[in-house]
Amino acid sequence: MEKPSLSVDFCGIKMETPIVLLSGCVGFGEEYTRVNGYSNREIGAICLKGTTLEPRLGNTPHRIIETPGGMINSIGLQNPGAEHVINNILPNLDFSETRYIANISGSSVEEYGEIAAMFDDSPVDSIEINISCPNVKDGGAVFGNDPEVSARVVEACRKATTKPLITKLSPNQTDIANNAQHCIDAGTDAFAVINTLMGMSIDIDRRRPIIGNNQGGLSGPAIKPVALLKVHQVYQVCKDHNIPIIGQGGISNAEDAIEFIIAGATTIGIGTALFSDPLICSSINSGIEEYMRKHQTSSLSDLTGTLELNQAAPATPSCEC
């Protein structure tokens, strides 16, 4: 058997490994290089911090709190604005190490298009449209929870760029597959599934939410089962269009990663898991390789969507309750 290869083609972007570091967890791509032994070369791509047209200070602390099996964050898209990112940050990134994906948020459909146009004229490999940020009032989830509006955002970005567009879907909506279909029709090239779930944590002595912004996005292992189902659902509409998915939400080891790939992901995102282990990517890479060897798979894409559903027993009508 050929040596298993971790490299994947993700809507035309050649990634050395299937690992994508997730937006908001690794700043603008260089932060984790502080850690001895960490290398961007082990990563397929890095999604940069959510970027808006104007600079944003972000939300009031506390911005994060640990919760059972996960954490809540409400950063509020702190970023120096698209122009600064393009002129002052991107030129300092080493594009020989990995692929870089911009992550954009707008406060109107037009603004999404405007930011996408700015990044179109930049060295990023792709643009991820964040229509699912739960932490800002004037953007993100307001767009992403309505399939019609999601499609208009994707359409505006599509007109503004020829770079691959990844639409980041929210789990906080009724029918994610329907939304995905609208986004495909509007011209998205790929999906990121899922962004955080909305959550709250309360200080019982003060009787106040711990998070400054009262609520925030739940991430980490606690959301993994939800994320996995959403990837499976979105894959059902993607498979006929050859649209790849970055599966994400609580992945913290190679087994989790493989579950997402089987459910339909082409690449897998790591965010919260980095916080306890900044060197986790090399062990995920080698765990995936080991699995491929064991299952005689030489190409990772052969695993994508290989899930076989159980058949309901004839006498028991299918019921989710």
């Binding site: 908001g24 967890c25 690794v26 700043g27 260089e30 932060e31 984790y32 290089t33 502080r34 850690v35 001895n36 032994g37 911090k49 200070l57 972000g58 602390p61 506390h62 911005r63 994060i64 709190i65 640990e66 919760t67 099996g69 996960g70 954490m71 964050n73 950063i75 702190q78 300092n92 080493d94 980490g220 292992p221 919260t272 980095l274 916080f275 306890s276 282990d277 900044p278 060197l279």
Partner: protein, 290 residues
């Protein structure tokens, strides 16, 4: 390229000693050669308290010995993470990330550093004291405050310090052994300590200096936020430079998530700075106003 590349180690350390003291305070001594070799006063480590936790917990480094490759931490049991940490036993492994953060940097021309530590803000003050020990041109003075029993035997000092109220003779033996004068404050009435605030003692000490001596003072402080604010006010009143170490909830600890920010005044206006890598040490004026 990030100028701080490779500055933080992920080190699987071993617990060499774990002392359990009054007031839910604990001292950990760890075999941690990589971190010990580059730690500076004000640096902290991000500690994995157990596999059940999504996030590590930040704890300041109190002592770092390059020769023996060991570090010491002093922490107070607060919630679930530090409770799990307090149950770890000698010989067990403990995963650390560190050293992290911008350190306290004493100004070369301010030869009279005033170190003010409150509660579990004491460790960085001990670290500064130890780092200044080898440079006899510095004449530091330390003031430590605690509302739980001090995590060391309060011992009558052999050093005379002008300006101290009568009876305020208790000191930390380790600092005393290093030849670093120090005094203690508490509202709990512990014998030998000042019955009041650390800033009261700071004021007495400053007032007993000559104008010339006072112009050589720089303040360094770590402790509860209200204490830091009082120290910053004092520094402003005496027109002295002051560096403070801040705390905020942290996720990554390496600058990636912007979860740990505090609002800082900069010449360009307010900015959100990360406590983990832009701090934890900041100029007091940037935090509390000029």
């Amino acid at each position: 390229m990030n100028p701080d590349r490779d500055s933080i180690f992920k080190e699987e350390t071993t617990i060499l000693e774990h002392l359990h003291l009054d007031g839910d305070q604990h001292i950990l001594k760890l075999n941690s050669p990589d971190i010990a070799s580059t730690a500076l006063p004000g640096s902290f480590v991000h500690v994995e308290c157990g596999p059940q936790f999504t996030l590590r917990r930040p704890i300041s480094i109190m002592r770092a010995d390059k020769n023996s490759g060991t570090i010491e931490l002093l922490y107070k049991r607060l919630g679930r993470g530090t409770t799990a940490l307090s149950e770890r036993e000698v010989g067990e492994p403990l995963s650390l990330l560190g050293p992290i953060g911008r350190p306290f940097i004493p100004h070369p021309e301010r030869k009279r550093p005033l170190l003010i530590g409150g509660g579990v803000g004491m460790p960085p003050m001990v670290f500064i004291a130890e780092s200044l020990r080898s440079d006899s041109s510095y004449q530091p003075f330390a003031i430590l405050g605690s509302e739980v029993p001090f995590p060391f035997p309060v011992t009558p000092s052999q050093m005379v310090i002008p300006g101290m109220p009568d009876g305020v003779i208790g000191s930390m033996p380790l600092l005393e052994d290093w030849g670093i004068p120090n005094r203690l404050a508490s509202l709990q009435g512990y014998p030998g300590t000042h019955d009041g605030y650390v800033t009261d003692l700071a004021r007495h000490w400053l007032d007993a200096l000559t104008v010339e001596e006072r112009s050589q003072v720089e303040l360094f402080s770590c402790g509860p936020h209200p204490m830091l604010e009082a120290v910053a006010t004092l520094a402003r009143e005496y027109d002295l430079p002051c560096q403070v170490s801040l705390e905020e909830f942290m996720a990554c600890g390496v600058g990636g998530c912007a979860g740990c920010v505090v609002q800082i005044e900069t010449p360009q206006g307010p900015a959100m700075k990360r406590v983990c890598v832009d701090g934890p040490v900041f100029e007091a004026t940037a935090v509390f106003g000029a």
